[in-house]
């Protein structure tokens, strides 16, 4: 351990996330992990961390913390005003947070979730092999509260301040047909792709809930519970599709019409309630 972060304000929801808890879905444990993976990977790379290092996922900004030793930090994800020791700083690059200095995140200008990586990673005790907090069943470290003290690991590489982040290119969520596409009317997937949906208020780390045209089902019976994957587009009886995200239950009882390509899932982390969402068939699918 090489120091502590003292959290003064955790904002609306701040959790610790690493790559998630693999291999336990059959016991009912969600995988968790950052919702915007490319942003989390970039933040770790900027401060010289391994991509598996644990960092903070900050929802709607509002995080304020200090370091007792001084530490390299990087903020990525939703574009957010970043203040380091009283001075405005950019995001998407490594910054030195001096001992006693405060890092403060404002409210995101666009998007929802920001990522704060510190050199050495957040070194809280792992639970079942991961430092990710799952918000469905609360497996993992507790959510970050005001007043929390977070241990920081020992840095093992210098920060990498020059980087080429992925260009943010939001667009339609590309999908392939799901395993239960045959539970829906002919052409239901094409109509899903032609329609426009709106992000619902209830969206969270479990799923992106959409309002819009309900896909037409041809089989009305209940689906016996079956395993679910990240990005599955489930259609509950009400007809409003849900894109399953990192904290989704490992099994579910609603048919899956489509599956969102994993390269597009980061967008689901940054869409706000009320934002429009479209789907498009992945070429060749």
């Amino acid at each position: 351990m090489s120091g502590l972060l003292a959290v003064e304000s955790a904002g609306a929801l701040t959790t610790v996330q690493d790559r998630g808890r693999a291999g336990l879905a059959h016991l009912g444990v969600p995988r968790a992990g950052p919702l915007d993976r490319p942003a989390a990977t970039l933040a770790n790379r900027l401060v010289g961390n391994d991509p598996a290092a644990a960092l903070l996922e900050v929802t709607w900004g509002g995080l304020a913390l200090t370091s007792d030793t001084g530490v390299w930090i990087a903020v990525t994800g939703a574009p957010t005003p970043v203040e380091v020791a009283g001075a405005g700083r950019g995001s998407g690059r490594a910054e030195w947070l001096p001992a006693g200095g405060r890092l403060r995140l404002g409210t995101p200008v666009t998007g929802v979730r920001s990522y704060v990586a510190v050199a050495g990673g957040i070194d809280v005790e792992p639970v079942l092999g991961s430092r990710s907090t799952d918000t469905l069943a609360w497996v993992g470290p507790p959510r970050v509260q005001d007043g929390a003290l977070l241990p920081v690991g020992a840095p093992h590489a210098p920060p990498a301040p020059l980087d080429t982040p992925r260009p943010p290119r939001p667009g339609a969520l590309r999908v392939v047909p799901g395993p239960r596409a045959d539970w829906f009317a002919d052409g239901a997937l094409d109509r899903l792709c032609a329609a426009s949906y709106v992000v619902g208020e209830e969206s969270n780390r479990v799923g992106l809930r959409l309002d819009g045209d309900p896909p037409e089902r041809v089989r009305a019976e209940e689906l016996p519970s079956e395993g679910m994957v990240l990005g599955a587009v489930q259609v509950p009886p009400g007809g409003q599709p849900v894109v399953l995200l990192a904290d989704h239950p490992p099994t579910g009882g609603y048919p899956v019409l489509a599956v969102v390509h994993q390269d597009d899932l980061w967008q689901c982390a940054q869409l706000r309630p009320g934002d429009p969402v479209g789907f498009a068939r992945l070429r060749g699918a």
Binding site: A22, G23, L24, A25, H26, L27, G28, V29, V127, L128, A137, V139, V176, P177, G178, P179, P224, S225, E226, G227, M228, V229, G231, A232, P249, P250, T251, G252, V256, V259, H261, Q262
Partner: protein, 200 residues
């Protein structure tokens, strides 16, 4: 239906549909023993999901060697001591056409087997209740069901590992810890585990 109906579930997952829950357990156990190339092997009510698969065709070839195992369940046996004082005990007795002692006796006679986990970490769907003893879920779920509550829904039996809202009809409660992330096997009733309820 073929013994095994494989459906793509996105580019890196395969959903194998089989005849019933026993076949799903058998396939999941076979796949784990064969160490197939999948990050997750998740049995469902009559499916097995293979997620995090790098070579979908290779997996399909491995699974083609599986035949449903009609033999007895071979998982470890866990005895669950139960105090039968659940809020729905009399209701279940009426539905089964017996009294409370009759429910306790019939529930205790059955060797259940954990078919799959879902709903919450360590919440096992226990198969074994005869179809004629199936009971519907509560119309209005309870806001809070204490940890250790033993209940029925449809032809499934389950034990709540943690306190949560729930709509299962409650027969009683156990002191056993069903879910403990600090334990080597965090879920007491992992899929394949045989379960007997013992009145105390």
């Amino acid at each position: 239906m073929d013994v095994l109906d494989l459906r793509a579930f996105g580019p890196a997952a395969v959903l194998a549909e089989v005849a019933d829950s026993a076949a799903a357990r058998s396939l999941a156990a076979y796949a784990r023993a064969a160490r197939v190339d999948a990050e997750e092997v998740v049995p469902g009510a009559r499916t097995v999901l293979f997620d995090g698969v790098r070579d979908v065709d290779g997996l399909a070839r491995r699974l083609a060697d599986w035949t449903p195992d009609g033999g007895p369940e071979r998982g470890p046996l866990v005895e669950v001591p139960v105090v039968y004082d659940g809020a729905d005990l009399h209701d279940v007795a009426a539905r089964w056409g017996t009294d409370v002692d009759g429910v306790v006796a019939r529930h205790g006679e059955i060797e259940f087997v954990s078919a799959f986990c879902g709903f919450a970490p360590g919440f096992a769907y226990l198969a074994g209740l005869p179809e004629e003893h199936a009971v519907p879920r509560l119309d209005t779920p309870r806001g809070r069901v204490p940890a250790g509550s033993v209940g029925l829904a449809g032809s499934w039996c389950g034990v709540y590992p943690t306190a949560s809202p729930g709509g299962w009809r409650l027969l009683g409660r156990t002191e056993l810890t069903l879910w403990d992330p600090a334990r080597y096997d965090p879920a007491l009733l992992a899929p394949g585990t045989r379960v007997r309820f013992v009145p105390v």
